[in-house]
Amino acid sequence: MLHVMQTAARPASDGVFRAMFAARKSVFVDLLKWDVPVIDGTYEVDQFDDAHATYLVLADPDGGHLASARLLPTTRPHILDSFYAELCEAGPPRGEGVYEITRFCLDRGLNARERRAARNTLVAGLAEHALRAGITTYTAIAEMPWFQQILAFGWLCRPLGLPRVIDGTMLVALRIEIDAKTPTQLAAAGIVPSIDIRAAACVAA
């Protein structure tokens, strides 16, 4: 099921949180070789994992991690304005209804088909969460292949500036506008919560 969670002040206190931080370590540190902090050799936790962050975590009935994303309020320091402001032609967007999507993470234990199902469910969940929480705009930073996929989700996505090569990787900052039409746009592009994962959520409930 899809968990929406806040207050990660004591991350090790909850199984779903623990599994997510461990999955993030596996993806971002072990696989993608990002230079980010690791706690106890197991959990990837950085300075933005605080009480202001919101997490969307897709978990199996046993709390096992499938996919997750972290949302940061743009009214506080976040990744785009702290480290990558140069990617924005007119400065990073900030506001009450503007949240930055970071650490979009698909579990490494999934095969290709499961990954797509988990990805679609999480993307649809991000749109639904935005509509519930009054979020009108998501911002994010993406490498070019991931950017092409984000465009293919069918929602309204635009670059905030020209792509730039930073530390050997071409990155682009982007904004995604969310409104009542977004779920329909996503569905038209085939981005719908997967039946399997819905079934899993029912079992969990």
């Binding site: 032609e89 290709a112 797509r116 070019m144 792509p163």
Partner: protein
């Protein structure tokens, strides 16, 4: 107008286009703004064999396009192959550093130059589960590329391809019907076969009999309508049932 503003103008137009002719006009205009003459938006498949299901939009000289199609260059085109080994746009002059070029590749590139197509810049566009594609911009032979405009070409290529993808999808060509689903056990057997294991080896790894492995692979082949396991592995890689990461992961 700055590069970002030019890119945004193009993106807004692409978001609004409702037919292929309007998209072609918009891409033609941005191609000129970027200092190029030619563009080609395409899925990397044999476009004649694909019978209109694959994206294809270009303004190459007709003679060159005909030759290209007749010889099904869409599948062997060195530009397409090079775009499979990188995730960002590249200049064609860099291709020899990216992929091994065969004598035939060099002949095709020379023929393109004779037909007036010089240096180009190709933006790879890969959507998992679909055929790989790209957006290329090319200059008339002898005209240099304006390097400063390449970041904008990168963005324009990404949005042009997505615009084409949306139009082709509205025509009902994309997304394709779901690929044949394998059982987990069939997939496991295929994964080890793709790693080069024999049925006997797979049977030891999975703790089943050799006959069981052979049966799983035979049934998997039947689901895809193919008769050889090599082709089965390729089809499964193409539709995302297997990924290269699965195969090389230890």
């Amino acid at each position: 107008m700055g590069m970002h503003a030019m890119a945004m103008q193009f993106i807004r137009i692409v978001e609004e286009v409702r037919n292929v002719d309007d998209l072609a006009a918009a891409v033609q205009a941005v191609t000129t703004e970027l200092g190029f003459q030619y563009f080609a938006l395409t899925h990397h498949v044999d476009v004649l064999a694909a019978e209109g299901t694959a994206i294809r939009l270009h303004n190459y000289p007709a003679r060159w396009a005909d030759y290209y199609d007749r010889n099904a260059l869409g599948v062997s085109d060195p530009v397409h192959r090079a775009s499979h080994v990188t995730s960002v746009g590249f200049c064609w002059s860099r291709m020899p550093e990216m992929i091994p070029l065969t004598a035939e590749d060099r002949r095709v590139l020379a023929m393109g130059r004779e037909e007036g197509i010089g240096e180009g810049f190709t933006v790879p566009a890969n959507v998992p589960g679909e055929a790989r594609g790209s957006c290329s911009f090319a200059s008339e032979a002898g005209r240099p590329i304006v390097a400063d405009l390449l970041p904008m070409a990168q963005l324009a290529g990404a949005f042009a391809f997505e615009g084409a993808r949306r139009l082709w999808s509205e025509r009902g060509h994309l997304p394709k019907p779901p690929p044949p689903a394998l059982t987990d056990r069939q997939r496991d057997c295929l994964l080890w076969a793709a790693r080069g294991k024999t049925d006997w080896e797979i049977s030891r790894i999975l703790g089943v009999t050799e006959e069981t492995v052979a049966r799983h692979i035979k049934l998997a082949c039947a689901r895809y309508g193919v008769s050889k396991r090599t082709l089965l592995a390729i089809r499964a890689l193409f539709d995302g049932t297997l990924t290269f990461t699965d195969i090389f992961r230890r």
